[in-house]
């Protein structure tokens, strides 16, 4: 039987979940308003989760809910009821790190699957077999897993394996860091991480500052190998990321995975997609642990030169097929004559020049779209759909052929 190959996207709210579904994610992971490691994100109410599941299931996508804090006793109040609700709603799986929730899941005989979070830091087949015996159908491996570890774990357990492919990295092994607790009194294992590992420190007896921030993870160049060795779910980090980031990253990995499966991925497309992702994230990225222990080149030392990205120009709200008029919400400055490109779930990227006749919501002619989230309309012959996106054109595949 063909093993599952799944592109798994984060979503911090319903809009992002819809974007992720439309742009090609096979499954989306979200956090509820309690018990999730992004405690200060907006997150999903139970009603939101219900709507998310309905939306995703209609598109034949799956929804996973993180219940991945390390629980203190008082946090356990209400958790049984919460799990029961998630199960009734039709959530496909919960992602869990604390054995107390794994035990509850088993005792309550819930229908939804049990996935073990990367917070549990599974790095060998024995620990994965332990979770398998508890009933888990999937383990999210520690980010420190190398290719050899993944191969061995797959061989010895046969379990579905989920690995991160893109996004920010913790400096520490997940769950094994309470720097935040000590520096800010915020509990990192209950979602309060203050990212102390991003701080720049002074060091004793030297004028050289000490920094430990890792570069981002990016598995574009290794995606084919990951599929070959049996990784089932390709997970993108970032429940607090923007709609543009999610659309871009999911769109790229969707194309990559499909090209690998259809044996069509070549070096030109690999480099093209790498360029798009690097520009979108505005951070350096590497494959981190997959090919061995990361060294000095896989981390930052003197802070990051992270300039805010202005590539995202607008999101399509509507397209009038009869008059061929697009209505979009502006996200960054653009003007008449700019060379842009549209990308979206149902069409390939195409180039476009902003026409002379662009109008605001009051149908007044304007030359520049310079107000955040202003409504802009103009004629475009190619048909667009809600949630298509317009960005500055920077790369063209022809540059990489």
């Amino acid at each position: 039987m063909q093993e599952r190959i799944e592109l798994l996207s984060p979503a911090g709210d319903l809009e992002r979940l819809k974007i992720a579904c439309l742009y090609g994610a096979d499954a989306i992971y979200i956090g509820g308003q309690n018990y999730s490691l992004r405690a200060n994100a907006l997150n999903f109410s139970l009603d939101d989760i219900k709507e998310a599941v309905l939306f995703a299931h209609n598109l034949n996508k799956r929804v996973y809910v993180t219940v991945n804090i390390v629980f203190h006793d008082k946090d356990l109040a209400g958790v049984k009821e919460y799990l029961k609700n998630l199960d009734s709603i039709g959530v496909d799986a919960i992602i869990v790190s604390d054995v107390v929730i794994m035990d509850l899941w088993r005792k309550m005989k819930l229908k939804m699957e049990l996935h073990v979070s990367t917070q549990a830091s599974a790095l060998n087949y024995e620990v994965v077999n332990f979770y398998k015996e508890l009933g888990a159908t999937r383990v999210v491996l520690a980010r420190e897993a190398t290719k050899d570890d993944i191969i061995r774990i797959k061989k010895e357990t046969g379990l579905e394996l989920e690995c991160f492919v893109h996004g920010a990295m913790c400096t520490s092994i997940s769950g094994r860091c309470v720097l935040s607790n000590y520096a800010t009194n915020r509990d990192s294992n209950r979602g309060g991480c203050a990212q102390v590992c991003r701080f720049v420190f002074d060091a004793l007896n030297t004028d050289k500052v000490f920094s430990m921030t890792p570069k981002d993870l990016n598995m574009v160049s290794d995606i084919a190998e990951m599929i070959k060795i049996g990784v089932n779910s390709f997970k993108v980090e970032g429940r607090m990321r923007s709609v543009y980031y999610i659309a871009t990253v999911i769109d790229v990995y969707r194309h990559l995975i499909d090209m690998v499966v259809n044996n069509k991925l070549d070096i030109a497309y690999t480099n093209y997609y790498l360029s798009i992702l690097n520009r979108c994230a505005n951070r350096d990225s590497t494959s981190q642990f997959f090919n061995g222990l990361p060294g000095r080149n896989e981390q930052y030392f003197l802070g990051r030169d992270e300039v805010s990205n202005k590539d995202f120009l607008g999101i399509v709200l509507d397209y009038d097929k009869e008059n061929k008029i697009v209505t979009l919400e502006q996200r960054n400055y653009f003007k008449v004559g700019d060379v842009v490109e549209f990308f979206g779930p149902k069409h390939e990227v195409f180039e476009f020049v902003i026409p002379a006749d662009i109008r605001n919501k009051d149908d007044e002619i304007i030359e520049v779209a310079n107000h955040p989230r202003m409504i802009v309309k103009f004629k475009i012959d190619r048909e667009l759909e809600q949630f298509d996106m317009m960005r500055i054109k920077v790369f063209d595949i022809s540059q990489f052929l």
Binding site: A39, D73, D103, F201, D202, F210
Partner: protein, 266 residues
């Protein structure tokens, strides 16, 4: 209280002093399976002439080293038990039926009575997290079916990375490598003590945790004294006194300070 102390042996030559102070349980880090501790070969540990010897395996272990561990575990004659971090160790020992005492020591994870109870059905004892309050800790101690272990004295481990952060730093700035260092955040002025070996980097807290005042009457299996990075004289002064008062550079950690995790309710 002294008879219930499990002490980390950061130098073999200190053992006699510990024994004279009344300590009778000793923890040794095993070469190849520890981070943030001075470690020893199995031969060296076996040669130490004390009865209650435990070995510490506190790494998150990869596949290659879990394979190797299976061989090591067959050679643990004279060892009373294993104090371990990686659940893979539990799986291996369970299958091998070695008759060793098993104590789970995941620094930050044993924070509620149900999780601790889950583990106590499978192992002999569990180290409680040192980031919970005294109230939370006492509730767990009083409600679980076996005796647990609690931190009593020493720097707390606050971070464990697989990366070689001190090596990378020394290479980047071309400064001499030193496996122990102290770093300070410019904003909060909090300090961390950094240790590295080939298996990763560990950071310890700025202050020494001293829980005697709060924990002395608890019914536990062991009180843990972590001697790493602390002068021998200071350790001996602590063992010979075991009094309630805090010395300079000591604190009570989170025993009276609850951590927060939501900045505001939405």
């Amino acid at each position: 209280m002294i008879s219930k102390i499990l002490i980390y042996v950061s130098a073999i030559e200190n053992i006699d002093d510990y024994r004279k102070a009344g300590v009778s349980a000793f923890l040794f880090g095993l070469d190849g399976y520890c981070v943030g501790y001075n470690t020893y070969s199995l031969d060296t540990i076996k040669k130490v002439n004390v009865s209650n010897k435990y070995i510490l395996l506190n790494r998150v272990i990869d596949c290659k080293d879990i394979d190797k561990l299976k061989n090591v575990l067959t050679q643990l004659d004279g060892i009373k038990g294993i104090v371990f971090e990686d659940i893979g160790v539990y799986e291996v020992v369970k299958k091998m039926n070695l008759g060793l005492e098993l104590i789970l020591f995941q620094n930050h994870f044993a924070t509620n009575k149900d999780s601790v109870s889950f583990w106590l059905e499978r192992v002999d004892s569990v180290f409680l997290s040192n980031e919970i309050t005294y109230e939370e800790l006492k509730k767990i101690v009083d409600s679980v079916s076996k005796k647990v272990c609690v931190h009593l004295y020493g720097y707390n481990q606050v971070m464990y990375s697989r990366r070689l952060l001190l090596t990378n730093w020394s290479l980047e700035f071309n400064i001499p490598y030193k496996d122990k260092n102290i770093i300070e955040d410019k904003g909060t002025h909090i300090k961390f003590r950094v240790m590295e070996n080939e298996y990763g980097t560990v950071m310890y807290s700025e202050n020494i945790f001293n829980g005697v005042k709060y924990l002395k009457d608890l019914d536990v299996l062991y009180y843990y004294v972590n001697t790493m990075l602390i002068d021998h004289e200071k350790i001996m002064k602590f063992l010979n006194g075991l009094n309630d008062s805090l010395s300079e550079g000591e604190d009570i950690g989170f025993l009276e300070k609850e951590t927060i995790y939501k900045l505001k309710e939405r």
